[in-house]
Point group: C2
Chain length 213, copies 2
């Protein structure tokens, strides 16, 4: 386990702040306080100030932050001042959904190629992309100078795909398969478990029930 100087929770919130700032900027707002950001995204003003303090001095006391500057700065910290090419493995329902998910493009992520090793899927069209066999994976990593792979295959096929991604030189993997993967330390892995957020909801539902007793 690698030690990051900045807590992952801070990075997650930074990602959420930057979305909020983009929305303000789009609406023509030019200045914002930590209190406004806090209220807009649902955390405390102290948390906002603490998170931003990891990255230097921002804002002017009593005046607040310049929306456009802070927005650009948060995007740069997150590595979103450039666009990223993604390679997706798995052309099932989830793969289709990810290919058409608008939230990726909104943040500068583009799925450049989709792969599947099932003969009935290779050659299929998903939007502008034609599903390719995994035999072409290495070539596409080179072609698109890709650093990030997405795994959207069934649990039992996920480790093999991860191994291929590591072998072909990807630096980061986003895994949607509900299974724990073994990955060397020099490759970043994050798992998206779609039920974690549901469990926050059920936790809170139980909490409210307890309050009503």
């Amino acid at each position: 386990m690698k030690t990051l100087r900045v807590p992952e929770a801070t990075v997650t919130r930074l990602s959420i702040y930057s979305r909020f700032l983009e929305r303000l900027d789009k609406n023509g707002v030019t200045t914002v306080s930590s209190g406004d950001i806090a209220e807009g995204v649902g955390v405390s003003p102290a948390q906002v100030r603490k998170d931003l303090a990891y990255f230097g001095e921002f804002g002017t006391r009593g005046v607040g932050y310049n929306v456009k500057d802070l927005m650009k700065y948060t995007l740069r910290i997150l590595g979103l001042d450039k666009s990223w090419s993604l390679l997706l493995v798995g052309a099932g329902n989830l793969g289709f959904a990810l290919c058409t998910y608008k939230g990726f493009n909104m943040r500068g992520f583009t799925i450049k190629a989709v792969f599947d090793n099932h003969p009935t899927k290779v050659g299929k069209q998903i939007g502008d992309l034609e599903v390719q066999s995994l035999d072409s994976f290495e070539n596409m990593v080179e072609k698109y100078d890709a650093k990030i792979g997405i795994i959207a295959v069934p649990p039992k096929a996920a480790q093999e795909v991860a191994d291929l991604m590591v072998k072909t030189g990807l630096k980061a993997i986003l895994n949607f398969a509900p299974v724990a993967l073994n990955i060397p330390d020099n490759v970043e892995l994050r798992n998206v478990d779609l039920s974690v957020k549901l469990e926050i909801l059920t936790f809170n539902l139980g909490f409210h029930e307890a309050e009503n007793i």
Copy 2:
């Protein structure tokens, strides 16, 4: 914004601990230390102890935790000692993917009905479910005593669906549309933004590059 006594980050980690404990239990492991849990999920042992301390006293000093007991306890805290009926709106690619996503069933969540208001989608079969028109939504809330709705429609249709869910008495909403929804305070809302985890990856990739300079 409601104040929760337990930080959401703690609940998220609890959800991850409980998965790890389930895996240990399945593998026949009976006792575990906070250090083992910490290493297994990638946080510090102090964090594990602090998170569990919100919910009472666990484990025996020098012996550790009983895996089965702690697993059951975490599941109960998360509200997962019972099963939950979900109603899903949106029978597009993402809706299909969510209906077949194995991670939900593994945690006691079952999508009981799928809805879409597009005439070409109503009547379509997704696994065991037939896509219904939104006219039946209220009846299905009653039939399944549903508390949780999932929104998997395009951004511009999401608020209308959320309003329907609130009106028909749902208590919690999981929103996959990349858009900010307005929801009354007595309904829990969580957004799943599939690109947030990608941004943790790009943040870390930038961080490594900076280290290599």
